[in-house]
């Protein structure tokens, strides 16, 4: 299992653009907001949680779409389906390595972006924790969609349309934790619920992704 993760990470790291583009995308989207709204410090501070969360959500969604595409083109996916190891576990490995290479950099850079949007230090810390709990959910749910569209040639914006409504709870609680932190209210409740989402997704999403892959490969 760790071998797969290591292999996946190595192949991704070799192609710098594949893990750098989501990061750049994330940074550019966050940069566009002050340009569109204006450099008002109080307003930016108020909007920062939502802006960073939506940017992270979009960056995850855009990178996850290709999770199985290269594997499908190179025939690696068929070998995954035929391998004696449980498909759910293989999918989980792929999703985890994708998270490590595509989402973790976003989380590491997010305090800097928070700083640019005048987020106070206490909220920076909440931002990191909420992203740490939330982005696995985004990745796991996105993987289901990525598996469903793997055989479709011209899918366009289908994946966001399919998956974004499912992101609503994470977005609400992720930004809710930050808003509560800004008002000096307790945040453990929010983070606990996000942790529960994450565990729920870890339990069911790889299974559903496996089912979806078997369907998608037939196409």
């Amino acid at each position: 299992m760790f071998n797969i993760i290591r292999y996946e990470i190595q192949t991704t790291m070799r192609q710098a653009y594949s893990w750098l583009t989501p990061l750049l995308f994330f940074m550019i989207v966050v940069t566009l907001f002050p340009l569109a709204i204006g450099p008002d410090e109080a307003l930016l501070q108020k909007m920062a949680p939502g802006v960073i969360w939506i940017a992270a959500l979009l960056a995850t969604l855009l990178s996850i779409g290709n999770l199985f595409r290269a594997d499908a083109e190179e025939g690696y996916l068929d070998r995954m389906l035929l391998s004696p190891h449980p498909l759910t576990l293989l999918v989980l490995c792929k999703v985890m390595s994708h998270w490590l290479t595509h989402c973790l950099p976003l989380i590491l850079i997010s305090p800097l972006l928070g700083f640019l949007l005048h987020l106070p230090p206490r909220e920076e810390y909440v931002l990191i924790v909420s992203l740490l709990l939330g982005t696995p959910v985004l990745t796991l749910l996105g993987a289901i969609g990525a598996a469903l569209i793997v055989g479709i040639r011209h899918h366009g914006l289908l994946l966001p349309v399919l998956i974004m409504p499912l992101y609503v709870p994470v977005l609400i609680f992720g930004t809710g934790a930050l808003t509560a932190a800004a008002l000096q209210q307790p945040i453990t409740g929010y983070l606990a619920i996000m942790g529960a989402f994450m565990l729920l997704c870890f339990a069911f999403a790889p299974l559903l992704t496996g089912i979806a892959l078997r369907i998608g490969v037939n196409q």
Partner: protein, 245 residues
């Protein structure tokens, strides 16, 4: 036992034959419920002491919202049956339901908006139940969009079944997180566990309208499913016989 059930009731042919006698009865029941609900709801039930006659849109709004959610549930059950047992009828039911459900969701949103303007003074607010209804609409649309891009019939049905199941697991989570997020909508009019917060004179036509909407759904569902069955089996012997009559 299962094979027997499958052959006698779940094959398209027997489904077609066994639903034929149901249609007139459902039509009669629908007309009765709808007629009673409309007449009682619009003319006989007393006007609300606060909202006046404006509240009467409830007789369209609540039933369509109820139908929108019930149909999604129905769709998810059909999706599960499609995935696990690969019953053709369930797959047809799922695809047909999605389109009807999307329209009911749209109707609930529009009537809610029309109701909101005089009562809250605004067409739209970011209230919990409005928002979760809007997300339900997006879920329906996503399902239909996925169906429209996959050309192979069996893959289309199975892939959309997966997304329907994911949606139904998420639906309560979305609903409660949105409620927690913000709420302005009046409390639920009907709840299974509490005494309804509505006068009996207003309640009876409402229940009749809900029954009428569900009967309407059942009727349209059966009609469209029968059409689909005929289309799919168009070349088979039994369909030729149906048309020969």
């Amino acid at each position: 036992m299962w094979n027997w059930l499958k052959q006698n009731f779940l094959s398209p042919k027997s489904f077609y034959a066994s639903t034929t006698p149901l249609l007139p009865w459902m039509t009669i029941a629908f007309v009765l419920c709808f007629g009673y609900g409309m007449i009682d709801g619009l003319f006989i039930a007393p006007a609300d002491y606060q909202q006046g006659d404006g509240f009467r849109i409830i007789y369209v709004h609540v039933p369509s919202a109820f139908a929108a959610m019930a149909i999604y549930l129905m769709m998810a059950v059909a999706a599960f049956i499609t995935l696990v047992w690969r019953v053709k009828i369930a797959a047809i039911c799922m695809s047909v339901s999605a389109r009807i459900g999307a329209w009911f969701t749209f109707l609930a949103l529009v009537t809610g908006s029309i109701w909101g303007k005089p009562m809250w003074g605004t067409w739209w607010i970011w209230d919990a139940r409005l928002t979760s209804m809007l997300i339900l609409f997006f879920l329906y649309v996503g399902f239909i969009a996925l169906q429209s891009v996959i050309s192979d019939q069996q893959n289309r049905e199975r892939a959309s079944a997966v997304i329907a199941i994911v949606g139904v697991i998420n639906l309560p989570i979305i609903h409660y997180s949105v409620i927690w997020w913000n709420t302005l909508h009046q409390g639920p009019t009907l709840s299974q566990f509490a005494k309804p917060s509505i006068a009996p004179a207003m309640l009876h036509p409402l229940l009749a309208m809900i029954a009428a909407f569900m009967l309407f759904y059942g009727l349209i569902l059966l009609l469209r499913m029968r059409n689909q069955i005929l289309l799919r089996d168009a070349k088979s012997q039994w369909v030729q016989e149906v048309f020969a009559k």
